[in-house]
Symmetry: C2
Subunit: 225 residues, 2 copies
DNA sequence: GCTATCCCCTAACAGTGTTAGGGCTCGGTA
DNA sequence: TACCGAGCCCTAACACTGTTAGGGGATAGC
């Protein structure tokens, strides 16, 4: 009976990946086990190894599946506005899909979607007027920067897991911590406590993106900045 | 007999951390288990939980212990050279200690050594002439950037674990991959293959650091750049 | 000598990734 | 029609993992 109703649509690598994506969203990366993914598609764990070499290969597929959700921003005259939007969308993508940053950063899987993203990125950079060498480097910089930012942004504060302190409370607690430090030993931390903990992550990202774009702008001939 | 010879120096959190550091160096983060750390100090796994709440707390200690190895560069007149050296040393630290980037990036543990590093960083930025608000943001940017770069740099290429392809061969293989892509669908990737895979990581980091520093320089009044 | 504290132990639980080997159900072929 | 091989899933198991409960021996103070 090759006829299978669409409720259980033929166990393919694609279906496996989508199931893994659902488990990831529900239980996070730490809760993503082969047994759970198998259960999600109505199958036992060992069966997955017929379709996938090991868990890492599944994570590679997962990584590419997440990148598939990326929607490149419209092309614009203003290269800065375009790259700015590009960074913001990339960060949004990593924030909106649970543990996406960890999955994508964990391993560089050159799947088709990553290639598409890279191709698109290179095209925009060249259109902005960057040289071939600078384009290649700038692409690397943007990727590493956004991933690094989101990873940092999402890394849990170790002293704050005791209670379910929300994100806002964490900033307050960190502020208190900094302000409470001995001013003789940590004068700058104490003095800059408000600046260190005040701006929310959106504002920080805005700042950082602007700096990186400023840095890239210096590579362009003056009339194209 | 409270007297214990220095060969087994009284199981403290400090000794535990150092043992974990050795296991990390030997077996990597994936191979770092409570049982191995316990064996390293000549004890059974359950005993660790007397000194440490759980594995995560041990990783927090480990993170701070790695940061303790950081040697801040000498102060300089030229703020650019100073921050440049700062970034390079931070990257070196993360590269020289196995899986250090993953450990440090995994969780933000505000231990004493992290506070020291932050304090030092803030001091240098202010001395360079940055405003209080910019100093706080720049510190965040530098940390996220370097960590992101090293994490990206160390993330294994998924298609390359089949054989023990060395780092140099990986670049070659990636070059071949890019060049072999259909030029109609991936013209930029194919055309920039050499630029994308050619420069080694040191050169890429140099490029990226210079861009970030350029971006920060725009914040300074013209006479202090 | 008693007690309390500290520190380590054994044993176990529930879960992990992964493999070996068995069996069922198909499509194609003799 | 009978067989065969391939494709796909299964059970069972192995060697691990983090973590907890509860026991026991040594030490210090009263």
């Amino acid at each position: 009976m090759p006829e299978n109703d669409d409720a259980t649509p033929a166990l393919t690598r694609e279906a496996l990946t989508q199931a893994a994506l659902r488990v990831l969203e529900r239980d996070g990366l730490d809760g993503l086990s082969m047994r759970k993914v198998a259960a999600e598609v109505g199958v036992k764990a060992a069966s997955l190894y017929w379709h996938v070499r090991n868990k890492q290969e599944l994570l590679d597929l997962l990584s590419d599946a997440i990148l598939a959700l990326a929607e490149p921003p419209p092309r614009q005259e203003d290269w800065r506005a375009e790259l700015h939007e590009y960074c913001f969308r990339y960060r949004r993508l990593l924030l909106d899909n649970r543990d996406a940053a960890k999955v994508v950063a964990g391993r560089l899987a050159p799947g088709p979607c990553l290639l598409n993203v890279m191709e698109d990125q290179l095209d925009r950079l060249r259109a902005a007027g960057f040289s071939d060498a600078d384009t290649a480097m700038a692409s690397y910089l943007l990727g590493a920067f956004v991933q690094g930012f989101v990873l940092q942004e999402q890394s849990p504060i170790s002293s704050a897991e005791v209670l379910g302190t929300s994100r806002r409370d964490i900033a307050d607690a960190a502020g208190d911590l900094f302000r409470g430090l001995p001013t003789t030993q940590y004068p700058n931390l104490a003095e800059l406590a408000d600046h260190l903990t005040g701006p929310d992550m959106d504002a920080r990202f805005e700042f950082c993106v602007q700096r990186v774009l400023d840095g890239l702008a210096t590579l362009l001939p003056a009339d194209r900045r």
